[in-house]
């Protein structure tokens, strides 16, 4: 038999075998998962970066207050929680942080200043978190 047709038979057999092998489906599935995750991430980012730069404070999952960060002047906000605990949020122009908290692990305070849309500081024991949302209008230099 001529060599070329043997090759074709071998190649076809390989393809058929791989189609039947569920391993490849798993790999294909994982790869599409990665692609989908890029899509999801993009969507979420787009939704997050609309509007002026602002800080949203949530207690117990409910929106407590929204503060515009682009025009903000320095201030401190003490946010109480239902069971008598508290978190103190410090605002400056363009950024914010959890300054003080009565929670045991202080992860929220250790997070420090946040200024980019999407960044969060969370205090799980107090069911409290702050999120930065919106577009930052700051420029690095001006062409004139």
């Amino acid at each position: 038999m001529p060599a070329s047709s043997t090759n074709i038979i071998v190649k076809n057999d390989c393809l058929v075998r791989s189609m039947k092998n569920p391993n490849y489906y798993i790999i294909a599935g994982l790869l599409s998962l990665v692609l989908i995750s890029f899509g999801v991430s993009h969507l979420v980012q787009r939704q997050m970066t609309e509007g002026d730069l602002r800080l949203e404070i949530y207690t117990d999952g409910q929106l407590y207050r929204k503060i515009n960060l682009s025009e903000a002047s320095a201030e401190e906000i003490r946010v109480p929680t239902k069971d008598g605990h508290y978190n103190v949020v410090e605002i400056e122009k363009g950024r914010a942080r959890v300054k003080k908290s009565d929670c045991p692990d202080q992860i929220c305070v250790k997070t420090g200043w946040i200024s980019q849309p999407g960044h969060i500081a969370v205090c799980v024991p107090n069911k409290f978190n702050i999120v930065v949302k919106g577009k930052s209008n700051k420029v690095d230099t001006i062409s004139y």
Binding site: K135, N137, K138, V139, D140, T141, I142, S143, Y144
Partner: protein, 354 residues
């Protein structure tokens, strides 16, 4: 295979553990500003090494000094600069003989002539006599008569500039002709300064030479540099923000150098074919990789007006532009859509191409 995969798995874990410590290579900011070329030059670089950062800054400013000396027609320090200024020597020998010049001057002249030709003379470095007539260089501005303009226009012709690359000479054919590099010197100097920064190993930097911006690399955190475009009628406001990396953003406007006579504003942006101000636009912004090109291109675009300027830009490769007309309408090239954000300030009407 058995040994391999075990080794790889082990290496992976070790690598991953040590990876978290690599974050500590901190980039520090080094910035300086100097008054040169008749304007404020600001350079900011980021480096993890203090010495490298400061040296890079010095080298960048040295470039600005160097180009300044070659291209300044009206040196404040007459003695020193007159000898080294190529442009002064070229102008003094107009109609007399070719003058030998440095490579940089040669580059500047050649690039300028290239765009002069491409734009059909809307940009012309031989505009020196007209600029002098209006008094812009020497700060004795006044409105000349039409007759004076007509006579002086005969000295404006880029085709009468003879460049001999082999001998490195430039010759102005007619006596009385003079070159003015005001429309290209800053851009060229910025480009040279950026080159020097790159050679010094700088990966993140921002140069602002009197509004002539070059963004080198990205910001230290990897995001693009955000360059604001000034509102032509509000010196404290911005009409747009461009997100760029390794790109130059240069803006020209009728608010930069002008004088007013009898209630009419006369800016320094003159149409070489009429010898008078171009009035269709208030401001143009050019976005492209080469700072020299960005600086140069503003002039023909301003003179051509928003319609012909738009077609001209589209005929070029890798160039984006924003046009702000005198009637506050704003148009821009498609290729800038993803990087351009309008602030919505100032009551401008943004015209969508579609």
């Amino acid at each position: 295979m058995k040994r391999w995969s075990l080794v790889i798995s082990l290496l992976f874990v070790i690598f991953a553990c040590s990876g978290c410590r690599l974050k500590s290579a901190q980039l520090k900011e080094f910035t300086d500003e100097k008054f040169l070329m008749d304007t404020l030059i600001q350079v900011t670089v980021y480096s993890d090494d203090e010495q490298r950062g400061k040296e890079a800054l010095d080298k960048a400013f040295a470039e600005f000094e160097r180009i300044n000396n070659l291209t300044d027609r009206f040196p404040k320090d007459e003695e020193n600069t007159a000898a080294s200024s190529d442009v002064i020597r070229i102008n003094e020998n107009a109609g007399i003989k070719p003058v030998q010049v440095s490579t940089d001057t040669l580059n500047i002249v050649q690039r300028s002539l290239y765009y002069a030709q491409l734009s059909g003379g809307s940009f012309d470095i031989t505009i020196g006599p007209i600029m002098d007539l209006w008094g812009f260089g020497k700060n004795e501005q006044h409105v000349p008569s039409d007759d004076q303009i007509k006579k002086t226009l005969s000295l404006v012709d880029y085709r009468k500039v003879i460049v001999d690359p082999d001998n490195g000479t430039v010759y102005l054919q007619k006596p009385g002709m003079s070159l003015d590099f005001g429309g290209v010197a800053k851009g060229y100097a910025t480009e040279e300064a950026a080159k020097v920064l790159r050679e010094s190993g700088i990966k993140h930097a921002l140069i602002n030479a009197g509004g002539n911006v070059y963004a080198l690399g990205t910001k230290p955190d990897g995001s693009p540099w955000r360059v604001g475009v000034r509102d032509p009628r509000n010196e404290n406001g911005l009409i747009a923000v461009l997100s760029v990396k390794d790109t130059s953003v240069v803006t020209s406007g009728d608010y930069e150098r002008y004088f007013e006579e009898r209630g009419v504003r006369y800016s320094h942006l003159i149409d070489p074919s009429t010898g008078k101000q171009a009035r269709d636009l208030m401001q143009t912004t050019v976005v492209t990789e080469s700072s020299t090109d960005a600086d140069i291109l503003n002039k023909p675009l301003f003179v051509l007006g928003h319609q012909r300027g738009m077609s001209f830009t589209k005929s070029l490769q890798g160039v984006g532009a924003i046009f702000v007309s005198a009637d506050k309408q704003v148009t821009f090239t498609d290729n800038l859509t993803n990087q351009l954000e309008f602030t919505g300030n100032g009551d401008y009407q943004i015209i969508d191409q579609k």
